[in-house]
């Protein structure tokens, strides 16, 4: 295949600590929950069987599973960074569940920018998934960004890639 040059969507220098990422709002349906559960190969009934979720888990309905929320957070972050953004580390904290009928809102604030000892640029972003202003899940993400148009965090291997600070 011929080599194609892909222009970065976002460079480390474009990012300011304290800036907000564009919000993403999404109406969750039973299909969203079931699709997410199957896409993450999570066959547990509380993610597709409402009776089970209510009677056994004591929740109001089926709810989004954790790995699918991870996929939502990743999508949210890479919508912002573009394809050069390389996820290094994420920490999720689930406070309460997201159900069909909820409109989930993903928002994010840049908490820090840095360049590590081997010259890789990183941002940390505090991402929040909320419904009607109530925080459901938080995600602290560290994601690598290129320093210049010809930099590519994905090209880093071995000791040149340090996902934890």
């Amino acid at each position: 295949m011929t080599s194609t040059s892909v222009e970065p969507q976002l460079l480390l220098d474009d990012v300011t600590v304290g800036e907000s990422l564009p919000a993403l709002n999404y109406e969750v349906t039973a299909t969203t929950v079931v699709l997410g559960a199957l896409a993450t190969r999570d066959w547990r009934p509380m993610h597709h069987d409402k009776d089970f979720a209510v009677e056994r888990n004591g929740t109001q309905d089926i709810f989004l599973n954790t790995p699918n929320q991870a996929a939502w957070f990743e999508r949210y972050l890479t919508d912002w960074t573009g394809p050069h953004g390389r996820l290094a580390r994420v920490t999720f904290r689930m406070k309460s569940s997201v159900f069909p009928g909820d409109t989930m809102s993903l928002t994010g604030v840049v908490e820090s920018t840095s360049v590590d000892d081997v010259g890789c640029g990183f941002v940390t972003v505090a991402v929040t998934l909320s419904v009607d202003g109530e925080v459901k899940t938080t995600c602290a993400a560290r994601i690598a960004l290129p320093l210049s148009a010809d930099d590519n965090p994905w090209a880093r291997r071995g000791d040149q890639w340090r996902p934890s600070p």
């Binding site: 295949m1 080599s3 194609t4 040059s5 892909v6 969203t32 699709l35 997410g36 199957l38 896409a39 993450t40 190969r41 999570d42 066959w43 056994r56 888990n57 004591g58 954790t66 790995p67 699918n68 991870a70 996929a71 939502w72 957070f73 990743e74 999508r75 890479t78 919508d79 573009g82 394809p83 050069h84 390389r86 996820l87 290094a88 580390r89 994420v90 920490t91 999720f92 904290r93 689930m94 590519n152 994905w154 291997r157 890639w161 996902p163 934890s164």
Partner: protein, 177 residues
């Protein structure tokens, strides 16, 4: 706490730090499942949809990092399998041993190393890191535990380390054993 639960707790805590359940993925990493995942969250990242972008940035298609645990969840059914296959077996061992019928995951940290490529067959093991004393939350009374899942590829390269915090519990008041 009954003597049985105390024994079970001691038995579980003795496993802290021990590598358990070394497993090899049931199937190779495949692109169609990458698309299923991207479709479920409407992820249009061209890295996963545009071969030229994947070639330029990652030397060919890779899987979204957040999918790492997906490659390890067994099929719902497989020929000849007699027991229900459970991912994160240590979590279910804890529930069973400690007599906690319900459980939720509260925290999840994933550190991503070598990218996952199409055709990779991943391997994994689980390590129990801690089991808390009894605690009561709005869900019920039970215990928190932390389990690490370490993922590597067929060449032994570290792919990811995922650290789960689970809470196993009994529902309602006064039901703690």
């Amino acid at each position: 706490m009954t003597a049985d639960v105390a024994d079970a707790l001691a038995e579980m805590r003795a496993l802290i730090g021990v590598e358990q359940y070394q497993e090899i993925g049931e199937f190779p990493v495949e692109r169609s499942y990458v698309w299923t995942s991207c479709a479920s969250v409407e992820n249009g990242n061209p890295l996963y949809w545009d071969d030229a972008v994947a070639e330029a940035l990652t030397g060919g298609p890779v899987a979204p990092p957040s999918m790492v645990s997906v490659w390890f969840r067994p099929h719902h059914w497989a020929p000849g399998r007699t027991q229900e296959a459970l991912p994160l077996q240590v979590h279910f061992d804890l529930k069973a041993a400690l007599g906690l019928p319900e459980a939720v995951m509260t925290d999840d940290t994933i550190e991503f190393h070598t990218p996952v490529r199409m055709g990779d067959v991943l391997r994994t093991h689980q390590v129990l890191r801690s089991v808390s004393d009894e605690k009561t939350t709005k869900l019920g009374t039970g215990r928190f535990w932390v389990i690490d899942v370490v993922y590597a590829n067929q060449d032994g390269e570290l792919v990811a380390v995922e650290s789960y915090t689970g809470f196993g519990y009994r529902r309602g008041e006064g039901s703690a054993s």
